[in-house]
Amino acid sequence: MELKQILEAIVFSAQKPMSTGELRTLLRETPEKLPDEPQTGEYAKATVRAVEKALEELAVEHDAADRSYRLACVGGNWQFVTKPDFAPWLQVLVGAKPRPPKLSHPALETLAIIAYRQPITRSEMEQIRGVTVDGVVQTLVERELIEVCGEADAPGRPRLYGTTQFFLEHFGLKELDELPAADELRRIHVELATAPADDSQEELPLDNETDEADDDPNEADDEDDDDK
């Protein structure tokens, strides 16, 4: 028996996605609670890192097996999920997912700004979008996609907003670093903040890319399809 297999069996059977912390606790508690199962003692001391590594290996194995499902980490929680191709049958099986209405364009835009630039104040969002964001921010808070995560060190101590755990779940992201082009977009913040006069040179080569990225969202979709 391997740690990997045990973790697989647990995630496979769990009725909710499991974090590495929860998995580790379960490994530690099992021999305590079931002293009659001495073989479980061996895995009691597995570190979070070892658990994480095992899960990552498992995910790779499952991807390679190319089945109708895969092991995914969403918002730090591990779960088995089916691949999108099979959605029609599952929709008929379990019914359409009970989801609130899709997010509007302004909401998505504001959410993108918050996601990449968090923590961020309302006025900073408005500066980027060029319009007031009051209503949109309220909607996003109500939908639990963002939350107040502090106060800015500025006059009036405006609230700082950041994304929630549910944000990651809603978009199926493992962590914020998995946001598309996260490295570029999240870094810009630092550059602008620390060296505002610096980026006139740097902007140019990047701009070419950005500009060519026409607004066809299908292009990315197609690439995704190839992965399947």
Binding site: K102, L108, I113, A115, G172, L179, A181, T210
Partner: protein
Amino acid sequence: MPDFRIQFKVFEGPMDLLLFLVKKQEVDICEVNLTGLATQFIEYVELMKQLDLDQAGEFIVMASTMMYIKSRELLPVSEQVGDDDDGDDGDPRWDLIRRLVEFKRFKDASDDLQRLEIEREKVYTRRPGSIPIDPLPMGNRLEASILDLVGAVNELLQRVAGREAAKGEIVEDRWSISEKIVAIRERLGRVDQLKFSGLFDGVRSRGEVVATFLALLELIRLKQLMATQDDLFGEIEMFIAPVEMQQIKPEQPEPVTT
């Protein structure tokens, strides 16, 4: 004219409108003709005013910036690249370009988010209704129940089958239940009682195991043999039932020397 009205409704703010105008020029943002852009923007905003559209405030603020840019009669942006000695930071042109670039990036990012949202909707997380542990083999349940006996028999059968397969020989299946009934009775005639597990020790073939077990069951059923246990989980022991309890005497086959 009516198309403008439609357009205004689509623009979510001055940045949105600006980006639209840049796209119309079909050049890189940094190469955009800012003066032309400013002119077009102001025209749109004027039109908005005429049409008396709401939410024009933000557009008007931007329009004043555009007018300032226009009034400076800027050189084409491309010629300004690298010429950052007079402090790009305060230059409204650069400020505007930077904002446009940033805005476009986030617009693209929001498209990505939308794509993720749609994709995520097609993904179903496994949520088993109950924890589906493989049912344990019956032999692992209570010891010394008939089901456990059956489980034990099954294991024996498998072991014998494995042994046969390993040897590559097939033992001819000649054992009959009646013979085994006789054999068990004989053995119980010599010893007072017999443990269940002892019954199968010398058994060599699947057929023989089955015959022995069935003989045992039948003897119990006919009450010629009694099975007892000292305790709930104890080994089953068998002995010949007192004669008066026996119901049927099966026809005795010819005894065989052993």
